[in-house]
Every structure is written in C-alpha cells, then in structure tokens.
C-alpha cells in the first residue's frame, strides 16, 4: 500500500510539472497542446475506492487550472472522466473488467487504445466546451478537440510504452 501511495504521489507531481513546464508551451500550429496529465486518472488502480479517484482528479485538475489561470475547466473535465471511468472501462475491456483484474501492463493493445481514445475525447470535449463557453463557436470546439485528442492519445501511448515494466 505504501509503495502504491508513493508511486501515485510521484506520478501526480511529475505529470503536473511535465504539463506545466513543457507541454503547455508546445502550441503546435498555434493552438494544439497535448493534455497528458489525464494519464494519472487513466492509470489509477481500478480496485481503489471511486471517491478517492474523484477527489484526486479534482485536485490534479484544479492544480493545472491554478497554473493556467483558466478558472475551473481542467477540474471540471477531470472530475467528469473520473466519474465516467467505469462506463468507459466496461465499454473498452468488456468481460475482464467485471473480474476487477485489469493490469494496464498486460492488456492487449487494441482495447488499451480504445480506452485511452474514449477517455481523451470525453475529457477534451468537455474541456474545450468549458474553455470557449459559447455555442456559436461549436466548430472551433470540435476542431480543437479533434487535433488535441490525436496529439494526447499518441503521447499517452508512447509514455505508457516507455514507462511500462516488463512482466516477467
């Protein structure tokens, strides 16, 4: 328990720092940034209490908001995907999820990609709707969601491949 706790603390701080120091300054083609801190929510152990996950998602979102002066948009989007995570898990992993025995290192690549994709697109759609906050600019919201999602999913997959421990 103790080691799990410290792993997640380190992951929390390093993802926030990575996001704030590097990824918020990429601005590819003017406005496309990856938001990779949602990996913290995606890779959180499934067996843990959902309340803990929702609270921690709020915390990581509000920390990013604090750095970006963006009100509560990251907090809102993060809390939403933390709450919706069981549904997304069920949709992408199916039967394995019922047995509560998913190890993110061992599941096959296809369902992992589906999982990240669903999570990222939900998060980004809420994020950019809250950021732009205007129905008349719906096209801008969708465009930002599409491009940023592609970027985030690619980067999440790469990061999980690099940092995955080989199962012996």
């Amino acid at each position: 328990m103790n080691s799990i706790f410290s792993i997640h603390t380190i992951r929390f701080i390093s993802l926030v720092m990575l996001q704030v120091i590097i990824l918020n300054h990429i601005n590819f083609l003017g406005y496309i940034n990856p938001y990779i801190y949602i990996l913290f929510i995606a890779l959180f152990p499934i067996s843990t209490n959902r309340i803990v996950l929702i609270l921690l998602s709020f915390l990581i979102g509000i920390t990013i908001d604090l750095f970006l002066d963006s009100g509560g948009i990251h907090a809102g989007a993060s809390v939403l995907i933390a709450y919706a995570r069981p549904v997304i898990l069920k949709a992408s992993f199916g039967a394995i999820y019922e047995h509560q025995s998913i190890k993110f290192n061992t599941v096959d690549f296809g369902s992992k990609l589906t999982y990240f994709t669903l999570l990222t697109i939900t998060h980004h759609l809420v994020l950019f709707s809250l950021e732009i906050f205007s129905i008349s600019k719906i096209l801008l919201v969708l465009r930002k969601t599409l491009f940023s999602s592609i970027f985030t999913i690619l980067l999440s997959i790469i990061v999980t491949i690099i940092f995955s421990r080989k199962s012996k």
């Binding site: 929702i54 750095f67 009100g71 509560g72 950021e131 906050f133």
Partner: protein
C-alpha cells in the same frame, strides 16, 4: 431519516461528482466575466514561484531577440531625446512634487499563453511593488494588457488576447474611437469595433490607444489596419488590426500607473 442517509450513502459517488463539478463550473463562469474575484489564479506564492524559477532558465534562450528589442527601443528613445524641443511653460518648486500623471514600473513576464481563448500573463511584480488592479501593461512596441489580480510578488495580467478584454482605441490620423476586442482566432490579429462609418478608414492606418479610459495614456501604439468591413447593420466598421507586438515573444514590459485614475473613476461613480 434512515432513508435519507441510505440515499446519500448509495449515491455518494454521484453526489461528490456533482459537488466538485459544480465548483469547477462556478470557477469557470467566474473566469469568463471580467474582473470577478476568483481564487484560482497564478499570482500566488506557489505558481508564481514555480514560473519564476522556470523563467530564470528559459529567459536565456531568448536573450538575443530580447536584447535586440531593447536596443531598438533605446534607439527610438534616443531619437526622441535628440529631437525634443523642451519647452518649459511652468516652473516646479521641487522635483519631488513634479506633476506627471503617469508612473512607470518595469516587470518581467514569467508566464505567457496565447493559444487559449482567454489568455492571462503572469508578471513578477505584485503588491510589494505597489502594483494594483487596473494598471496598464505595455511593451516597447505596444500594449499588452491590464493588471487583473495581484499577489505578494506576482500579478496576473489580462492579455489583449482575451475575449473578455475591452480597451478603448482610436485611429491615429483622426479622433474616431472604438473598442479593441479579440475573437480568439489568431494571436497576431485583434478586432477594433464600433468605429463609425464616416471615419476615414484605410488599410495600413495606425491604431493607437485613445486615452479615454483611465488606464492607458493616449498614443500607445496598438497595430495597423489589416482589413476592414462594415458590420451587419452597416453603421460601424469591424476592423482587423495587426498588432505591432509579437504576443508570442515578450519578456520585458512596463506597468503604467495613472495617478489620477482614482479621481477620474470617482467622477463616474457618482
């Protein structure tokens, strides 16, 4: 009673989600209205400190371009100094009570965004340096924004690249004035609206601040007219203004304090 407690226990996940989502929504709505008091801003000790230490490193990468900008500014100032016809029309008893309405401070930008729809900057001057809300911020080339929240050693600045920002601006060649806004699309182009139809607008004209608000003095450069068209009612121009400032590359800025702003604002309040 038992049933209420059961209900809360059964739906505790949803209730917690609802509460936290509501809080985030509240913060978001507050951030979309101009100058509402909000707790989540980067002018505090933690975020300001982090940005300051990052900036200490990253400023080395832009030393050359920033040096060039400062040298250019020195050149213009030297030109002004050489060509100035100093006319003394009144005598001051001592230099301390010298009555200039504007006071300038220098500051460094430690955080800059330009890809969101509501962009804020963070600068390394705060209440310790007597920076307050509604001070103007300019660079050597033109306007940057208005001070929003101040913390101890840091402040946030509403960038002109913010959809809630509204700054009074005018044509340089005539006194027709309008409001400078931003539509959230390109960080190079802002929009000047409410310029009356009879104004002599032409592509390439210079836009300056109008001095009609108590924030900026008259004549701070803004940009040049890129394109213009009449609005739907065909009474006012909507002008796209290409900024003099490269908002993606700014480091050294000046904060302007209008000493008379309290007096001016109290007139409006009555």
């Amino acid at each position: 009673m038992q049933q209420i407690i059961n209900f809360i226990l059964r739906n505790k996940n949803f209730l917690l989600f609802f509460l936290l989502f509501g809080i985030s929504l509240l913060f978001t709505i507050q951030s979309h209205s101009y100058h509402k008091s909000k707790f989540i801003n980067s002018a505090n000790f933690l975020t300001g400190g982090v940005y300051n230490s990052i900036n200490n490193i990253s400023q080395y990468f832009s030393l050359k371009s920033q040096n060039k900008l400062l040298a250019e500014e020195n050149k213009t100032l030297r030109l002004l100094l050489q060509n100035a016809n100093v006319q003394v029309d009144s005598v001051f008893i001592d230099t301390i009570s010298f009555k200039t309405p504007y006071r300038f401070y220098t500051a460094n930008i430690i955080k800059n965004t330009y890809s969101l729809t509501d962009n804020y900057l963070t600068i390394n001057k705060g209440t310790i340096d007597s920076v307050k809300q509604d001070f103007g911020v300019i660079s050597s080339k033109g306007i940057i924004g208005i001070v929003d929240k101040t913390g101890g050693g840091f402040s946030t600045v509403i960038s002109i690249l913010n959809t809630t920002s509204k700054i009074s601006a005018q044509l340089k060649k005539s006194n027709h004035f309008g409001t400078l806004t931003w539509n959230g699309k390109s960080p190079e182009i802002t929009q000047l609206i409410d310029i009356p139809k009879i104004a002599p607008v032409a592509k390439g004209d210079t836009i300056i601040t109008s001095g009609r608000s108590s924030i900026f003095p008259k004549g701070i450069p803004v940009g040049i007219i890129d394109s213009f068209e009449l609005d739907q009612a065909e009474n006012y121009y909507e002008i796209n203004v290409k900024l003099f400032n490269d908002m993606t590359n700014i480091e050294h800025v000046y904060i302007i304090e209008n000493i008379n702003s309290g007096e001016i604002n109290s007139l409006f309040d009555e």
